[in-house]
Subunit: 251 residues, 2 copies
Amino acid sequence: MTLITSSKNELIKSLRKLTRKKNREEQQRYLLEGVHLVREAIKAQQKLIMLLATTDFQQVDWLPTDVPTYWLTPEVAQALGTTVTTQGIFAVLPLPVTTVPQTYTGTWLLLDGVQDPGNIGTMVRTADAAGLSGVVLGQGSADLYSAKVLRSMQGSHLHIPIYQGELTTWLQAFKAAQVPIFGSELNPAAVAFHQIPAQKNFALIMGNEGNGMQAALLAQTDQNLYIPIQGRAESLNVAIAAGILLFQLKD
Amino acid sequence: MTLITSSKNELIKSLRKLTRKKNREEQQRYLLEGVHLVREAIKAQQKLIMLLATTDFQQVDWLPTDVPTYWLTPEVAQALGTTVTTQGIFAVLPLPVTTVPQTYTGTWLLLDGVQDPGNIGTMVRTADAAGLSGVVLGQGSADLYSAKVLRSMQGSHLHIPIYQGELTTWLQAFKAAQVPIFGSELNPAAVAFHQIPAQKNFALIMGNEGNGMQAALLAQTDQNLYIPIQGRAESLNVAIAAGILLFQLKD
C-alpha cells in the first residue's frame, strides 16, 4: 500500500497540472473527482489509469482491485481537489481518442461556441437523458475535460459519444446522410419549436451564450427554431433552450 | 462628485457585507453588479438607493441623474465586486417587501428545497421567459439575493413577483382557487409530461437536486409529472426539467 503524505509528491504535482487543457493534452489523461463520478467511471467499465483516495475509502466494497491505487492523507486530497471540500477520491482516465462516427444518421446536438463550462456539461447530460446519438463541440467551445464541465456532465461523457471538430464539415456529413439540420435563433421570424414533430433523425445546433449561432451556420440549416418568450426575460439560458428543443424533437 | 479611493471606506465596508444574507436583512438592501443587471434595474424603474461605478462610466448616457452616485477607483471596484474581473458598476436596491398575491390563479413555479444558486436563478429566468404569474421559494431553498442567484436570474427578479414561504400553505391557497397542482418526480409510474395539455392555471413544484420533492408535498398534488429518460443519464438537471415542464404546461 502506497500512502502519499506530501502534496509536493511528484505524482500529485503532475496530476495537479491536469486542471489545464494544455497539460491534459500533453499527458493524454484527465482527472475525475468525487464519489459519484468515480463510481460512474467504474460502472461504465472505463479504463482507469489509476485511483487515488483517502484511507477512508479502504473500507468501501466498490473499488476495483486491478487498478493501481494510491492512498492520500486528507491534506494531499484537498491539494489535489478542485472543490472547497473535496470528497477525497479521484480517478485518472486516458483522454478519449477522437474518432468519426460509423453513421451520421440518428439524433445529434452540436454546440457552436458555447463558452460556459456549466452550460456545456448540462447540455451533454441533457443529450444523454434524451437518448441522443452524440454531441459535437465546434471550435471555440470550452474544453470538455475541465473540472467544471465534468461536474455538470455527471458522468454522461461516459455514456454518449462526444466529438470535437469543425461544424461546417459535420453539417456536410449530416446533409449527405439526409439528416434534417435545425438551428436555434432568438428570432420570432424563425419557426416556433412546437410546430416541429418528434423525429428519428436530426442535428440541432445551439449557439454562444451572448451572440447565438454564427450567421454562416444559420444559413446552412434546413430550419431555424425559436422558443416563444411570453414574459419580459430577453432570452432563455442556452442549456434550458437545448432541453426544451431536444425533448420536443427527439422521438 | 464623490470619488472613493480606499476599500477601507465605511460605505464600501458596509456594502461588502451584503454578500451575507444576515447582513442583507439587517441593512434591508442588496447589491446588483455588472452592466446588464444595473441597466435592467434602471429599465425596470426600480427604486435605487445608490449607484457606484468606476469613473469610466461618467461617459455613458444611461445613468440616472437623480440617484446618489459614488465614483470608485478600479481597485475599490474590484474589492466590492464578486467576480474575478469586475465590470466596475453596482447598484444598491432595497430588499423587496414580502407581500401576498392578489390572486392565486394564473401560472406558478414553486421551489421545494432547491439548493444550487445557479439552478434557482435559472429557474426564475425561465419562469419569466415562460410568462408565469410568479415564483414561490419554499423554506430550505437558497437565498434569492446572493451574487450567484442574481447573476443567473439576469434581472428576471425585477420582472416577475417572487415570494418566500411555507409551500403547504401556498398549496392550500392554490387548491382553494381551483388551480391544478403538479408535482415533479423521477418515477416512471408518474404521468409522462407530454400527456398534459397546456393550461391557463397551474402550480408546478420542482424539488431538491439530490432528493427531489418532499414526500409530504408529493402527496398534496393533483398529478405528478415525469420526464421520460431515454439514455443512460440518471436524471436531468432540475432547471432543465423545469424548463421542459414549463414550456409544455404554459398556455
